[in-house]
């Protein structure tokens, strides 16, 4: 029996100009799980996400999203696949010229033939789910960062997507809102069997929501698999990440004190 994965990334190579940003990335996301892509800043997490949803064209390899090679799909194929996908952007990316209600209604109006009254009810339910019904007629610039993110999640969930991508969902949020968002993601997985791919480096969030993780180093996969297994790995970068151990990556050269032949008190010469 062959297992099909909602997302199957095979030997993905991404470049900015001549610079290789992602090198031979393999990643498989199991259906109905929360898969966290983690890694330090500049490791290529967001770039990977952009390639996965077809916003960037890979320099090599392939991305099978819901069974379709996303880079080779023509416009109608791509639009059909993306209608089954939800995406939460880091800063929300709500359309500023539309109210929250209109933002959430947009994919329903464009991608379904539902009557206006049903669309209105769905929008109300989705906004209520993220506790934003009261702000339905407000425009995005009138909202706080957390509200924008929750509204964007409501929009991403509007069509009940089979797979939901979240780029740094808890970045810039206060701890309580971040936990609420994590709880919502868990609920979406448990109640609707939704597959969720989250890019984050928030350890607390990873521990709470992740079933599987893929950890990126400098553009390559350091570790991949169930969170519990990855946490046990004896790979220095993985250990440093989960145990929050500083690795002096900045500078790293000889200090001025040592160049002067000195040392700190208590430090061996």
């Amino acid at each position: 029996m062959t297992t099909t994965y909602p997302l199957d990334v095979r030997k993905l190579i991404a470049k900015y100009g001549d610079r290789v940003v992602l090198n031979q990335i393999d990643m498989r996301v199991r259906k109905g799980t929360i898969h966290v892509i983690l890694g330090g800043s500049g490791s290529g997490k967001s770039t990977l996400l952009k390639h996965v949803v077809g916003l960037k064209e890979p320099a090599g390899g392939e991305v099978l999203l819901l069974g379709t090679d996303i880079a080779k799909a023509d416009e109608p194929e791509y639009e059909a696949v993306m209608a089954r996908v939800g995406m939460l952007f880091q800063a929300g990316a709500l359309l500023n010229s539309l109210t929250l209600h209109e933002n959430v209604a947009l994919p329903l109006i464009e991608k379904t033939k539902l009557p206006d009254s049903v669309i209105d009810d769905i929008v109300r339910m989705k906004l209520d789910q993220v506790s934003l019904l009261h702000a339905a007629q407000r425009f995005p610039p009138e909202l706080s960062g957390g509200m924008k993110k929750r509204a964007a999640l409501a929009r991403a969930m509007a069509l009940d997507p089979e797979i939901l991508f979240c780029d740094e969902p808890s970045a810039g949020l206060d701890p309580i809102t971040a936990v609420e968002l994590d709880d919502l993601l868990i609920e979406l997985r448990d109640r609707f069997g939704m597959t969720i791919v989250v890019v984050t480096h928030e350890l607390a969030s990873i521990d709470k929501i992740a079933d599987d993780v893929t950890m990126l180093g400098k553009g390559d996969v350091l570790a991949s698999g169930p969170l519990a297994n990855v946490r046990k790995l004896d790979v220095p970068q993985v250990r440093a990440f989960f145990d929050r151990i500083a690795t002096k990556s900045a500078g790293g050269g000889e200090s001025v004190l040592h160049a002067l032949g000195g040392s700190l008190p208590g430090e061996a010469q």
């Binding site: 077809g54 800063a91 990316a93 359309l95 500078g251 050269g253 200090s255 001025v256 032949g261 700190l264």
Partner: protein, 356 residues
């Protein structure tokens, strides 16, 4: 080899940077051993460390071995905090030569030209598709017509009135000398309907609406709204640009007609009050001078100019990359490229319609 010692005189801070640098510059490096004594140093900041680091480099080049003494824990920790500046770590930015810059420009022109052709093809395709399938975004089209048309009436009207008046004044000065003042109606009527009406309106709209299109779409690129549309399976060209194209295709000829009428009215006022030409005589002459062909070619041109303005604005917006300053650059490019292309198209029309 003699071991020398130098006691640093006072704090190593930004406000004493010049004195510290001078103090160290005066030290003679003999290639032996030199101990820097920090017992008098109570405070040190980044500027102080940088001066010490420069001294370390000089000493190493000279083969002098350095040692440190008398440093308080605070001073020692600050010296420990910073690595010696390492020039090799900094990426060397490559500056292209003239030939490379020229070649890059050619490649970019080709790339932009191709992107423009593809965008125009998309706009035509999605516009035809929307009309055939009756999926025109009527609300968006109406909103854009209001912005690109109704709200532009004031500025286009004022500008046209002044241009009509100025043209009549300038023409009158010449025509009067030959007793041919009545031909002011020919001058104003023909030049405005054929040429200046569509052109001036297009230039005004390029500055007003073309820049707005570039700024709106450019900002949407920066805030990932365009990406969001794509991930919702909504094509940004169909969703954003086609309604603008449809609305400007309707409003531009109307604006041009409005500009023609107001400009001729400006010329008429000059003719009546400055040249003492009777209103009836002016309008009779105007009717004889201006043909329907002139008006229609002017309106055809205005439709083409309108589509050039929107498509260039959209292209500049979609190609926005970077931060807020990039939106400013896109907006400027849209106005410059829009006006330039409109004038080139106008020259082509002149050859097509009036060159026998």
């Amino acid at each position: 080899m003699s071991a020398e010692r130098h006691v640093m005189q006072g704090n190593l801070t930004r406000d004493r940077a010049a004195e510290v640098a001078a103090e160290l510059a005066d030290l003679r490096l003999t290639g032996g051993e030199l101990t820097l004594d920090f017992r008098e140093v109570r405070a040190i900041d980044t500027a102080g460390v940088a001066i010490i680091a420069a001294f370390v480099r000089r000493a190493r080049e000279n083969g002098t071995k350095l040692a440190v003494a008398g440093a308080s824990e605070n001073v020692a920790r600050t010296l420990e905090l910073f690595p010696l500046p390492n020039p090799a770590v900094i990426e060397n930015l490559h500056v292209d030569g003239l030939l490379e810059q020229f070649a890059d420009t050619l490649v970019k022109v080709r790339e932009v030209g191709l992107a423009y052709l593809l965008l125009c093809a998309d706009i035509v395709w999605f516009t035809v598709q929307a009309i055939i399938t009756r999926t025109v975004r009527a609300r968006d089209v109406a909103l854009q017509m209001n912005y690109m048309g109704s709200q532009a009436l004031g500025v286009v009207g004022l500008m046209s009135f002044l241009i009509g008046g100025v043209m009549a004044l300038q023409g009158a000065a010449q025509l009067r000398q030959f007793g041919a003042s009545i031909f002011i109606a020919d001058l104003v009527g023909v030049s405005l309907t054929r040429e200046l009406g569509p052109l001036i309106t297009a230039i005004m709209v390029a500055g007003r609406s073309g820049s707005a299109v570039a700024a709106e779409i450019g900002t949407m690129v920066i805030t990932e709204e365009i990406d969001a549309l794509r991930t919702m399976g909504l094509n940004p060209t169909r969703f954003l640009i086609v309604p603008k194209t449809m609305s400007i295709t309707v409003t531009q000829p109307l604006l041009t007609m409005f500009a023609n009428v107001i400009a001729i009215f400006g010329g008429f006022l000059v003719a009546v009050f400055y040249l003492d030409i009777g209103p009836a005589a002016f309008f009779n002459r105007l009717r004889e001078a201006v043909f329907l062909k002139d008006i229609i070619t002017g309106l055809v041109k205005s439709v083409v100019f309108a589509n050039i303005i929107v498509s260039i604005g959209a292209l500049c917006g979609l190609r926005t990359g970077g931060g807020a300053d990039a939106v400013g650059r896109s907006t400027t490019s849209s106005v410059v490229a829009g006006i330039f292309t409109v004038i080139v198209a106008d020259a082509a029309f002149s050859l097509l319609f009036y060159f026998d």
